[in-house]
């Protein structure tokens, strides 16, 4: 296994993250590296582990409290539960996109983390992606390895059956 060194994966996660928050009527604005939020403001993390023949790793969604409060459909439920569910839904979107590239992964159940100064290891190949969302911040990164010899395709494969889209319902 080795670390992926292309931008495709980060772009895919970037798009999925924006789509997810748009689905909950919250606009996200990408920030540059110089606009990075203070790390001590990121209070909650949802982590989704995944694995497959071609790649394995974890997706991390860290937020301040405001985006959670603005998107949580149940004001009474815990923010920890909600950040886990958001991470789960983000990973579902990422998985659907990966399926179109011929990459099949299995998902774990989400884990929630609370803490201070939540931060990925310095020196990783790509920085976390940060968005302004309401009066707060959303930060997302994917930490993974690719199987030796495997390269992520840059365009969807022709012969792959499309996954069921988010929000879609099928009755049999």
């Amino acid at each position: 296994m080795r670390n992926p060194d292309n931008r495709l994966l980060d772009d895919l996660v970037f798009d999925c993250c924006r789509e997810l928050f748009t689905a909950y009527a919250l606009d996200t604005r990408p920030l540059g590296r110089h606009d990075f939020p203070p790390m001590d403001s990121l209070a909650l993390c949802g982590v989704m582990g995944f694995g497959g023949k071609q790649m394995r790793g974890a997706l991390v969604l860290a937020t301040t409290r405001e985006p959670l409060e603005l998107t949580n459909p149940d004001a009474c439920s815990s923010q920890r539960d909600w950040v886990c569910e958001l991470a789960n839904q983000l990973m579902g979107r990422v998985k659907n996109r990966l399926l179109l590239l011929g990459v099949e992964i299995l998902l774990a159940t989400p884990a929630g983390l609370t803490g201070e100064n939540l931060c990925p290891t310095p020196g990783r190949l790509r920085a976390p992606q940060v968005f302004a969302a309401g009066n707060g911040f959303v930060c997302v990164w994917i930490d993974c390895e690719l199987a030796d010899g495997f390269e992520l395709p840059t365009t969807p494969l022709q012969d792959v059956e499309a996954p069921v889209a988010e929000g879609e319902a099928l009755l049999f």
């Binding site: 997810l20 539960d81 789960n88 159940t109 069921v164």
Partner: protein
């Protein structure tokens, strides 16, 4: 009497979201937090009109639960709608083969869920 719907999901927020949507449409909702609790509820109760079930859950996932429900002879009398973040066609086919009656990918719209449950529980 209101029809009873069982929601099986490890997220309390999703359970509450489903409860709010179905309750406002006149359904009664009971909850289970994973496949083990869901299987217990389905086995012990005979008043359920339908089940809404997540796929990836701790202890026991929704598809495993569905297989066990089927092996206990509860299907096809009890319609099961899968509500999940998964959209993988292979999983949808597996659920259909095991006896699920529907598949919905989160995030969901309440009215779509209600419409699906109404259709599945209509006689």
């Amino acid at each position: 009497m209101d029809k009873k719907i069982l929601i099986v999901d490890d997220s309390a927020t999703v359970r509450q979201q489903v409860r709010a949507a179905l309750s406002s449409a006149g359904f009664e909702v009971v909850e289970a937090a994973d496949g083990v609790e869901g299987l217990e509820a389905i086995t012990e109760r005979d008043d359920l009109a339908a089940v809404v079930c997540d796929v990836n859950m701790p202890r026991m996932g929704g598809l495993e639960m569905l297989e066990l429900v089927k092996s206990r002879g509860k299907l096809p009398a009890l319609p099961v709608l899968m509500l999940t973040t998964e959209g993988q066609p292979a999983l949808v086919k597996k659920a259909k083969a095991v006896g699920a009656k529907g598949w919905m990918v989160k995030p969901f719209k309440g009215e779509l869920l209600v419409a699906g449950i109404r259709k599945l529980t209509s006689v």
